[in-house]
Symmetry: C2
Subunit: 444 residues, 2 copies
């Protein structure tokens, strides 16, 4: 209902305190965390089960197994046939999907509110009763390999990004692509997938997020019925991944591919993540990203590079997402204007960064960014499915409901000095990778 | 006895066939491989025990444990006290040491020939009876941390090399430094070390190499007595490390440190390793390295960069060592002449490479290199300790005695065309890292 939003926006921008959300949180005796986000405007619900495990938790040499398992989770249990899950949701007029990231794997369904009970029973079933035949596993391995072919191997931008990530991290498993390295994917076995499943899929390693037209008590009753009987795992491994050693040397990377129509330069810096109860530095980085490149026309990079007297870029961006278990990245990107080389574009970008660090934060600009962030927060709250996503991801990486609710306030509280301090710390070239994507080789 | 060598050299260079070596090979029933290299010129022996395990076999997050265990192997067994091992060798007037690499860990002693029996009894003892107290482990952890401080953290060249390695490998454990990342070394426990010990230290994962004034039958009898009773492991893991995915993007890295007195540029390319029964490509790469930068005055890089009309370098090198389990590296290095920038030095190096690929191999140069390699082989054979090293390393990475004996012949058989083909394949910038080590930042 986008037509409703501007009014809500106009109303809410005046209210400085974060709005209360109807969010209820509780935990079953077996450790399953449950978050209910009430939204009674329409008789639908989004149900998500988040597992606190992703590709960064995979065994060495088994890259892709978390995502492989995500696929296999639709391939039947002791009492259901392969494909039943998706077919059932579809027959109810609902939609469903799943996704795997470095730190979590999530399964969601969006259905009429009165179908929630069925969804929960099905999710509880596949949390512990997965039953996989060898032919099904072999077939699904071909599916993920084909997915890799299409999404990565036939896409120079995706290949470039994969090589960038591998260069950014020296020791952290974030180095590996979520989908996996092809040679390792080809070797993934039924037993590898089931081993990952048995190790990480358990009620005490999961979060159920239900958003929509439901009452918390009703969710509790259904969850108790379906998930309550499941035994918690007493062998969950600690979430201690290999940590990055000091990054002491700036890295650069060039990727040439004849399919590249539009060359660009990108840089990623190692950046701290959000931590429970301690989000101020991450908030400063989020504001920094918004200031530098969060808006296609008013951000610092856009103003200086796209709309100055001698435009050097046709597109600029800055990004930061600190919702992760381990240190994340702060990224910049520039698509050069016609006739501008990648080196010139990069030099211009670095000039903007240097000037920014020297001149500091423009107060009016910071105010405008905060207004945008506030507006964006309000938009987000209008989408209960999006909120389910936000709470699920945050809880899956170790943040709390309180952290999620504090985040908009944390963004508003960021000062110009904090932005500058965060920028000085994060924009350390020794911890960065600069990548050039181009059609022909122009470097020596 | 260096004064004897020129004569030997002059004699042997005429003999094209590889010299036969008095090398005897056998295996005990428990799987211990034994190689005896006879050299009766002096009444001494070198005894080496090689374990087919190194830092590349470590568990993720436990970098440094292979080297840590190497230290702990001197810290006592069920029947000996910490320090006894080294003290005993020393009291006999012998010398001893140990070293850890990516693919192996080796322990050696050089003693009077009649002390070999005692050495073997001590090595057999610590192969299975290691006994470590917590205070000893804690103390030795400080020793390896101090070793890291001295050898790596206080040495910009070593830090630079460490960052280069991490950038060269995207997935292979060769990415990690043998000594370990400090944060992981600090967390290494007694149990971690013992776990590595129990997993990898066993007669069927070891090679005993004895070189010097001994008869094979005598070695066999002593080995049977001391190692014979040891049970083989039936849980040795397969030596299947994570493999490199396709490297598609050239990487560059710059390291700045005020302690750098002499800047230089280095490049490493991913390169194939020697394989049992199939050493011709590795031989071509070894010849290529010798041709390009194996000699300080006559190599191609030296001739073109150090002794031309406008010298651009004061030192150049090329290196390749294919004695490894997984793909290795081919490396180049240039120290620029006074007033020459790193960029100019690198450009000059690339010009030499491009000309080399275009012009091909100079026949006289190839002949000279082969003569040098033949001479070097003969020098090596005069040093039975060096031969023990060569056989031990080769067998530890999966090569055979035959491969070691074929290697000099393989080098002599390399043709100009094979060198060029190997060069075209290995000098692929997409699989390379180029590093600049400098005092001040000169890059943008």
């Amino acid at each position: 209902m986008p037509h409703r939003l501007p009014a809500a926006l106009a109303l809410c921008l005046c209210a400085t305190p974060a709005l209360a959300q109807d969010v209820t949180e509780f935990r079953l005796d077996n450790g399953l965390d449950i978050v209910v986000i009430e939204d009674h405007r329409a008789p639908v619900v989004t149900s998500m089960v988040w597992y606190r495990t992703g590709s960064a938790d995979e065994k060495t040499g088994e890259s892709g197994v978390a995502h492989f398992l995500e696929h296999l989770m639709f391939q039947g249990t002791a009492t259901t046939e392969p494909g039943d899950f998706a077919a059932t949701v579809s027959a109810l007029g609902g939609s469903n999907n799943a996704f795997t990231s470095y730190d979590y794997t999530a399964y969601y369904e969006r259905v009429a509110a009165d179908k929630l009970d069925l969804m929960l029973s099905m999710e509880a079933d596949r949390m512990v009763n997965l039953d996989l035949s060898q032919p099904i596993v072999d077939n699904e391995r071909n599916v993920i390999l084909e997915e890799r072919s299409q999404r990565t191997d036939s896409n120079p931008q995706a290949q470039f990004q994969e090589q960038m990530n591998a260069a950014q991290y020296m020791n952290s498993p974030y180095r590996r692509p979520v989908i996996g390295w092809r040679a390792e994917m080809e070797a993934l076995s039924r037993e590898d997938a089931l081993d990952h499943y048995r190790t990480f899929y358990a009620p005490n390693n999961a979060i159920l997020v239900v958003a929509g037209d439901v009452e918390p008590d009703a969710v509790r009753a259904m969850a108790e019925e379906h998930f309550g009987p499941l035994k918690p795992s007493d062998t969950l491994p600690p979430r201690a991944r290999p940590q990055e050693p000091p990054q002491l040397a700036e890295r650069r990377l060039t990727f040439h591919d004849e399919r590249v129509a539009q060359p660009y330069v990108t840089r990623s810096y190692l950046a701290p993540e959000r931590n429970a109860g301690d989000q101020s530095e991450a908030a400063a980085l989020a504001v920094l990203a918004a200031l530098l490149g969060g808006d296609p026309t008013t951000s610092v990079l856009a103003q200086k590079m796209q709309f100055g007297e001698n435009p050097t870029a046709i597109y600029t961006m800055a990004g930061y997402d600190g919702t992760s278990v381990d240190p994340s990245t702060f990224t910049l990107g520039v698509v050069p204007a016609d006739g501008v080389t990648l080196q010139e574009a990069e030099d211009a970008m670095d000039k903007v960064l240097a000037d920014f660090l020297k001149d500091g934060v423009d107060a009016a600009q910071l105010d405008r960014i905060k207004t945008q962030l506030r507006a964006s927060d309000i938009y987000n709250r209008d989408d209960s499915g999006g909120l389910a996503n936000e709470y699920g991801a945050a809880l899956a990486v170790g943040l709390t409901v309180q952290d999620v609710q504090d985040w908009p306030r944390a963004l508003q509280d960021v000062t110009a000095e904090q932005v500058l301090a965060a920028a000085r710390k994060v924009l350390d070239r020794r911890q960065s990778v600069t990548g050039w994507l181009e059609q022909e080789e122009t470097t020596p």
